[in-house]
């Protein structure tokens, strides 16, 4: 076969491939815009009726047809923040252990086990949370917490085993694999020469980790954390099972609350009235905006960390 023919068909294939790949990339963008469009369109009724008041009202009364997003937004943010506070130290510890101090033989199995956690469907976490975790902490942890830490309002409330704090715990377990595997990859990107230089000037392992590895990987770690946050914000089934599903705002974290995704999972099927449905869709829109902003921030930070291979270092 003459070479030129090959080239010709190659060009045609190239063009076709370019077209096809452009089409798929475009399709994703189109889909995203369509989702935003539909969310706005469907929530228009509620946006028109409640306006910005929707964001700050804490009434959620399907009987009267009066809705406000504050309890759900509050619950979404608070449960996710609790999850981050618990998950970040554990995940970073994991990642440091796996990249810096773990003996070769157990690196693989532990890393695999953590990633396996990520593959457990969230409904399993929810059921485990409801049937095992909630009764356990209701009996053993929460009464103790109320007695010893109850002077801080955050640790008060009803010891039911379900509520904002337990939801945060379950979310933490769910996002640990995400944060630790991204953090591990970021730590692996730290150039060995930097670490070796640290050791060469007599730094201990502790000093190398704290003064070389972590500062170098700082924005990558932030990205990992926000990625975890993004996942926690949108998590539905596990939270629905254990958050307590009460449309109320309470500073006492043992009390039941709700989140946007839990409210949607609970109420969508039986929402008959237009304004009810529209308000639920607007909740969805709010969640979309929150997660979108958070994930965009994460992408930005991870991108910044990987584009500065040698300029970062210990500052």
């Amino acid at each position: 076969m003459p070479i030129s023919d090959g080239h010709k068909s190659g060009h045609a294939a190239d063009a076709a491939f370019k077209g096809v790949s452009f089409f798929f990339a475009f399709a994703v963008m189109a889909l995203l815009s369509a989702i935003i469009f539909v969310l706005i369109k469907e929530s228009w009724l509620s946006i028109g009726k409640f306006g910005l008041g929707f964001l700050v009202s804490s009434t959620w009364d399907p009987v009267q047809g009066v809705f406000g997003a504050l309890p759900a937004v509050w619950g979404t943010v608070v449960s996710s923040v609790i999850a981050i506070i618990i998950a970040v130290p554990i995940s970073l510890g994991n990642a440091i252990f796996l990249t810096e101090t773990a003996p070769k033989g157990i690196k693989g199995p532990i890393g695999a086990a953590i990633e396996l956690l990520a593959s457990i469907p969230s409904i399993i976490y929810g059921m485990w949370g409801l049937f095992v975790f909630a009764p356990f902490i209701a009996e053993n942890v929460e009464p103790f917490m109320i007695e010893r830490l109850g002077f801080i309002p955050l640790f008060r409330g009803a010891p039911l085993g379900v509520g904002m704090l337990p939801a945060g715990f379950i979310l933490a377990i769910m996002i640990i694999p995400f944060i630790s595997s991204v953090a591990r990859d970021v730590f692996l990107m730290v150039p060995p020469i930097l670490k070796e230089s640290g050791y060469a000037v007599g730094a201990t392992k502790w000093e190398v980790i704290w003064k070389v590895v972590i500062p170098f990987a700082k924005s990558g770690i932030m990205g990992a954390v926000i990625l975890g946050l993004g996942r926690a914000l949108g998590e539905t089934m596990a939270v629905t099972f254990i958050i307590g599903n009460s449309q109320r705002i309470s500073l006492e974290l043992l009390n039941p609350g709700t989140s946007i995704s839990a409210a949607l999972a609970n109420e969508f099927t039986e929402a008959v009235e237009d304004i009810y449905l529209s308000s639920l869709v607007e909740l969805g829109l709010i969640l979309f905006v929150i997660t979108f902003v958070v994930l965009a921030a994460a992408k930005l930070m991870i991108a910044r960390s990987s584009y500065r291979p040698y300029s970062g270092g210990a500052r």
Binding site: P62, V63, P135, L160, T240, P256, E270
Partner: protein, 347 residues
Amino acid sequence: MKKYLNILIVLTVCFGGASIAFAAGLINGAGATFPYPLYAKWAYEYNKKTGAKMNYQSIGSGGGIKQIKAKTVDFGASDAPLTAKDLDDSGLIQFPMAVGGVVPVVNIAGVKSGQMKLSAEALSDVYLGKIKKWNDVKIASLNPGVTLPDDSITVVHRSDGSGTTWIFTNYLDKVSKGWHEKVGFGTAVDWPTGVGGKGNEGVATYVKRIKNTIGYVEYAYAIQNKLAHARMENKEKNFVEPSMEGFMAAAANADWKGTPGFAVVLTDQGGKNAWPIAGATFIIVQKAPASCANTKEVFGFFDWAYRDGVDMAKSLDYVPIPQPVYTVMEDAWAKEVKCGGQGVWKR
């Protein structure tokens, strides 16, 4: 599209047994989740008997109502009756298929099933958050001889919109002025207090796992989960046990004929043995259906279910519709549902 349809038909002929499949066809319904196990059981048995196929999607009452209004299904199903006006506006009729009883269940150490007695006032005050402890005088005075703990009551309600909640809150709305003013009734309400469990099973789990709780579940769940139920004071001031007979009494005592659109609500019905927190689950069809043949099938199916499905319903802890009631319904089918001036349903 047409090609696929042809293939589908060929497949149906090959595998479905040609004559039966064509004679009977496939009917589609969608709606309430509560009666799903019952409809599925009926559909299975009916299919064995006649070859007719019924496909029921338990997407929730809201979805069912929307779909039958849009005529995308042959029948819709709802746990709460539509109002007569709503039915007229959309050209629909509804009829009850089964009765459900909602049962307050408690978890208090030392209190056995059926031991706790509750009045309408006590129950509504607990759910309003006005009665906070089990040994409150309003509860204690109803229960002399029962040791009630000095512990906070944890109220459990449904977190998802549901017909069960509709029935329960409708009852509280009828019997308590405070509830009527503050909360009202619906498939989901703004609960003054408590935690929400998803589904009957969610509420049952919370009541089982958390101490000093009170919740409300469908009768079947109370039985199957062996939860301790309370006895309720009914309209005639009798304390009654939740039972099939009590629910049927509520259904039989209701004035079906005189209620426009059969929008009968079975809460707080009179009758010596009537259980006060009961409600029917409804089937909704178009008065001028998109497919007359299918609607005829729908009626055939539900007629069979009324008559021959009684034992299946009871075996699944559903309460069948009493005979005098379904006779009224079938008269209405014959009178109201028409295709080209002709009645769709004939006995």
